[in-house]
Symmetry: C2
Subunit: 440 residues, 2 copies
């Protein structure tokens, strides 16, 4: 029993009745292991009687739990701390000085806050890169959702720093694997081609292969990264990563705004997944949008992520789906690019594929990661097309119920323990700012 | 007493205590006329005792009711009916055939739905252009919020059609003025330079001046409108409108994506207000963003609007503030353009100025159009900067209480009569689609 779910009956069979699934009124039966045993229009006779818990989903649309493939969850503590500044000033005067004072306890409460926000807006799995990740894992374990954790590996071509990062990465992976919690996964996280040496990247690639874990990296967010890489390595960033062995079906590359056609094709051949982060890219004015059509044509698995709260500033994947669908249409000047069904797939099935988890669909045999959206919300009326309403009209505020791995985490918009987490996160954040601004 | 507010005590003095106003904990006293009598940190002794109704706003941020300066409210009925299509196909195959079957009753229920959505997301005034506007006015009157109505005047250079439009406009203005409801205003609404003849535009300009009412028009949404205008009139659209007398301090021009520098300067000299509609512009791929800095430099009053629900697809002004602040940064490649405080001003004070209504500020002597936002929402925590959280992080779902003209329209997220309106709007919309698709 996890802290956040004290209020609800867990590990019990559940019967969700009258949910709208893929445009049809259906029932869903969840067994005691949290697995979807059956979905259909006429399963009531067989399963309703055996269920220990009945969830009435009349007037609700059921979708798979959303998957956020690029976050720095504990940066929720920095939400609104510094906005509308030039990128370099923002980093050097605001973000880095604050991060220098971060503790494991800060990351714990920042991640608790992030999980709360994700549950409230229908996200049941995320892919996280930050520091003090054992504390982040403790927070996610308690929250009841899923996450993949990597230590942000940065060596700046310094061999001593590299050894520290290797040790930290090994320690985290050992820690997560030994916990044996199916909701928690480890990854290796070389920060970016411009912050990690060739040796560091090669080690990360080998370690990812050896441990059979994801490799999570930032790729070509800004134009400057591309020119810097060409200057230093005489190759564009994707080619450089490939030469270090970093591109494989285990790789998740975030941002990818400045990929050229050849790089898109390379990512497709290597079966890489990418994470589109439209809000962050717009707010930080990166000046180009992810080349969606070229990546799609190359067969790349395209997913969706919010990035951290200091550059977005929230974790609402509904809002992010809309930003993605609209930014692609606007930037590439095509009113039919990235239609609603593809945006929803990015945020569900594609994300699950990238993370190597069996969620992202509501189907027999898959874990019950299910979100119920209230149709009695003005932005969901009229219901001509539920996918269109989900992507273009409603926000995370329309989510009524969230189930992850068969456990109810939010019901009727109520999350047990929410108030306490909000207060602790607020205090933690204010204390962090105080410490960072105290006279040295 | 209006239909939507049956559940709450109206026309009574109110004392809002402990709200966070402009970063400081303050109380607000509202008199029996719905006017803010006092705002301050120490007004409790003088006013709390006289108030007939106490509103506890501890843990709430108070902002002025939001002002949506460009809508086609009843198009809420078409939400999700047709997305991800080419513009011309979308209009000719989907939107126009449906609109050909619209009735006054449809517009009434569509506007009821729109008002519900606006109240829920903190909007207390909007500027509407559509058809059957007497029915729209009836819906707004009942909802308790404010609106300015114009009949969408389209003559396509046809003198007979022009006379019909003139009659419809005169009739609507007479109707709204004779109702004498201070929440309802009339305007004249020449649709756009490419749909209205010079004679039609000149009549609208004179009528606006004579009646002392706003002139609401679409301007330079697409590049094609600009080249079409140059071809037909040998002038860019703003210059053409000016030659018809259509640019004055009473004018609200929506979209304005394709204005050049000279047009921005002209709008500034004529004291025109513009409405930025970022979501709609992105979704319809208009290929340029409103020239915010040039308009600001020219002294133009810049406001914010959602456009109609078939091209957005919602009426959430919180989401629209974020789209505006992010689109400007992204398109004009400046990470400091349109900061949060300017986005909030566009959605409040600037909008009120454009509509000529005394709202948009929480100050003594102004009508009590006040929105309370719940700070105990994950996306509002931590509260380093309330304006940043309002613009970049929270959505309309964080709104707890809405007061318009001193009347409580939503309290604790509850709006009396909501369920009935949702059902009726859904039925109305489905019947409209049936009629439009029935064999002729």
């Amino acid at each position: 029993m996890t802290e956040n779910t004290d209020g609800y009956e867990q590990n019990r069979t559940k019967f969700i009745q009258n949910a709208q699934v893929n445009g049809e009124k259906q029932d869903i039966y969840i067994d005691e292991c949290g697995t979807i045993r059956s979905v259909g229009t006429d399963i009531s006779k067989e399963f309703r009687g055996q269920a220990e818990c009945i969830i009435d989903a009349s007037g609700m649309v059921a979708i798979p739990g959303l998957v956020n493939t690029h976050t720095h969850a504990a940066m929720s503590l920095l939400r609104g701390y510094a906005d509308d500044m030039h990128l370099q000033e923002w980093l050097s005067e605001k973000i880095w000085p604050l991060e220098a004072h971060l503790t494991g306890e800060d990351v714990y409460w920042g991640t608790k806050l992030a999980c709360l926000e994700m549950i409230r807006s229908g996200t049941t799995a995320f892919n996280d890169m930050y520091f003090f990740m054992k504390d982040a894992a403790r927070a996610v374990d308690e929250s009841g959702i899923r996450a993949t954790f990597c230590h942000g590996f940065i060596d700046f071509d310094n061999p001593v720093k590299r050894e520290t990062e290797i040790a930290a990465t090994k320690d985290l992976v050992r820690h997560i694997k030994s916990a044996g919690n199916p909701r928690l996964q480890a990854a290796v996280g070389p920060h970016a081609p411009y912050t990690v040496s060739r040796e560091g990247l090669e080690w990360c690639a080998e370690f990812s292969e050896h441990e059979e874990i994801m490799l999570h990296i930032h790729l070509s967010e800004t134009e400057g990264e591309v020119s810097g890489c060409i200057e230093k390595h005489n190759m564009r960033p994707a080619a450089f990563l490939d030469s270090c062995g970093c591109l494989s079906e285990r790789t998740l590359a975030a941002h990818c705004c400045w990929l050229d056609a050849e790089e898109c094709s390379l990512l497709g051949r290597r079966r890489v997944s990418v994470s589109h982060n439209p809000s962050s890219n717009m707010k930080l004015a990166v000046n180009r949008a992810l080349p969606y059509q070229a990546l799609k044509d190359a067969g790349v698995n395209i997913t969706l992520g919010t990035d951290g709260c200091s550059s977005n500033n929230n974790l609402d994947m509904f809002e992010e789906m809309k930003f993605a669908a609209l930014l692609q249409k606007f930037y590439w000047n095509s009113d039919t690019l990235l239609p609603a069904d593809e945006a929803l797939a990015m945020a569900t099935a594609n994300g699950a594929t990238a993370l190597g988890i069996p969620t992202g669909v509501i189907q027999e045999g898959h874990p019950a990661d299910i979100v119920l959206i209230d149709m009695a919300t003005p932005s969901m009326v009229p219901m001509h097309n539920s996918v269109s309403n989900i992507v273009y009209s409603c926000s995370g505020g329309a989510v009524d119920t969230v189930i992850c791995d068969g456990s109810i985490l939010m019901s009727d918009k109520f999350i047990p323990g929410e108030k306490d987490i909000l207060e602790k996160a607020q205090e933690t954040s204010f204390r962090l700012v105080e410490r960072a601004n105290a006279p040295q």
